[in-house]
């Protein structure tokens, strides 16, 4: 299952993932979220420089059949945005952990990361919440 939920990432209950590199955290949505949504047709992301609190809605992802908010796993400033997704939202389906990344946040409070789940806990969380 490590391919489905890479073990170097942290996860939220809203199915975002977070990859920490120093004081930067890259954010996207998990394979589970992608499967729930189906074909992603539009991704709306914030501008660089926007300051987010943890759990703030920072954007939305739309599939053919539904629209979902995206929530910040940690507080901080948005320092990079994956603008490629504006015209190529399909990267979210095809490479949710690579080309489908969404934003990079400069972490305000490193303790926020401790509240996230590792891949093992996340997989257990998914099993417990099946249907």
């Amino acid at each position: 299952m490590s391919d489905t939920y890479p073990n170097d990432l942290l996860y939220t209950e809203d199915h975002e993932w977070a990859r920490q590199e120093g004081n930067l955290v890259t954010v996207g949505i998990s394979q589970f979220a992608v499967e729930q949504l189906g074909d992603v047709t539009q991704v709306d992301l914030p501008r660089e420089g926007e300051v987010l609190k943890a759990h703030d809605a920072f954007g939305s992802v739309e599939s053919v059949k539904a629209v979902s908010d995206l929530f910040a796993p940690v507080a901080g400033k948005v320092v990079k945005v994956n603008t490629t997704l504006r015209d190529s939202p399909e990267y979210v389906n095809e490479e949710p952990y690579d080309g489908g990344w969404m934003i990079q946040i400069e972490v305000a409070n490193p303790d926020d990361l401790k509240k996230l789940m590792d891949s093992t806990v996340y997989e257990t969380f998914l099993k417990e919440n099946e249907d």
């Binding site: 189906g38 053919v64 059949k65």
Partner: protein, 374 residues
């Protein structure tokens, strides 16, 4: 959906097939139906536009009218001209309340002078049957044969050639909105109708419920080598919306009339007498206050059911989106909604409030997608 939430969800005879194909299943109006298969909505949509889509529509209702006064009974119930039908003819129509509001949209099939079939929406079967019985129940024999009848839609530019391999029925001479009863498809008893809900050429195939699985497998087997795929409700919705075909419960309801919904072409006010005729005559004379407009997004945004429609200049709320989606074949986002009649003119600019983000849209005439040659 107007199904009691405490009622257990129903399954079509093809439920096990969908599970076996790995479909994502949802509760749709009290029915457990495939929303998409592993290929996904966009691939299923494309397969239907370019090859063949195979759809489980067993949940739809089949109500038969038999007896000398069957035709008269059907005419009393529907807005279109039943007297003009011949055996083997199918006709789109709506049934109205006395108020002119729509009970359901449906297809009438004339099997014989004394035998008609009406196919109705799944979520309306009980409502329709009660409405039919209450109004014409003493005129002829009415039977709800929905549970005994399986229905599979076989739609797309390659549907005719794929189906030809399974039947000796005269498909070449079977025109749009005609049907052939008492045929065989893959050796199974079938009625073959050249009807559908996708904007493509194609068929809807009726078979007794005990043959549903064998028929489904035979049709999928014929479609697959041509690039055909099983198609779920997700793509069924994007396909019908591109064809600007209305969905009951979204674009049509008990409180909207066929004239408002742009269905005046199925309302024959100079033909038979039908329930709701007086109200529709009155509405036609008084003029329409609102109309169902179709629009294409001119700015980024996917319109969805329930989003407010606003005046592009003043921001005044005019109505709401009744259906909206991406249009995969068009590469544009599209929708429909009721607006004051003056705003329904092609070229009118509207603003769709997409979750707080205003996005410009433009009213357009006719189907968003039209197949070549149609």
């Amino acid at each position: 959906m107007d199904t009691p939430s405490n009622a257990p969800a129903k399954k079509t005879p093809l439920f096990g097939e969908h599970q076996g194909l790995g479909a994502k299943i949802i509760d749709f109006g009290g029915w457990l139906m495939p929303v998409n298969y592993p290929a996904g909505i966009l691939e299923e949509h494309k397969a239907t536009r370019t090859a063949v889509g195979v759809f489980d529509v067993c949940h739809m209702g089949e109500i038969h009218f038999r007896g000398k006064r069957a035709g008269e009974a059907v005419q009393r119930l529907v807005t279109n001209n039943v007297a003009g039908m011949v055996d083997g003819r199918a006709m789109y129509a709506v049934a109205c309340h006395e108020s002119g509001g729509i009970v359901d949209d449906l297809i009438v099939y004339r099997v014989a002078r004394d035998h008609f079939l009406i196919v109705v929406n799944a979520s309306n079967i009980d409502k329709d049957y009660l409405h039919f019985v209450a109004n014409v129940g003493s005129w002829c024999e009415l039977t709800n044969e929905s549970d005994a009848t399986a229905l599979i839609a076989f739609q797309g530019p390659k549907a005719a050639s794929a189906l030809a391999g399974l039947t000796t029925a005269a498909l070449d001479s079977l025109q749009s909105f005609h049907f052939l009863p008492n045929q065989r498809v893959a050796g199974l008893p079938a009625w073959i109708a050249r009807t559908g809900y996708t904007g493509e050429d194609g068929f809807e195939i009726f078979t007794p419920v005990e043959h549903a699985v064998a028929m489904w497998q035979a049709l999928l087997g014929a479609a697959s080598p041509l690039g055909g795929k099983p198609v779920g409700l997700g793509a069924r919705d994007t396909l019908r919306l591109e064809g600007r075909l209305s969905l009951y419960g979204n674009d049509l309801s008990d409180t909207t009339t066929p004239l408002e919904a742009g269905l005046s072409w199925v309302v024959k006010l100079d033909a038979g007498d039908f329930i709701g005729k007086a109200a529709l005559l009155h509405q036609r004379e008084a003029g329409l206050a609102r109309k169902l407009a179709g629009f294409v997004m001119r700015e980024r945004g996917i319109p969805r059911h329930g989003y407010p429609i606003k005046d592009a200049k003043s921001g005044t709320v005019l109505g709401e989106v009744t259906s909206g989606s991406v249009g995969p074949t068009l590469g544009k986002n599209i929708g429909m909604g009721y607006v004051p009649a003056a705003y329904a003119e092609p070229g009118t600019r509207l603003v769709i409030d997409c979750r707080g983000k205003p996005a410009l849209a433009e009213v357009v005439k006719g189907p968003f997608y039209r197949r070549t040659g149609a």
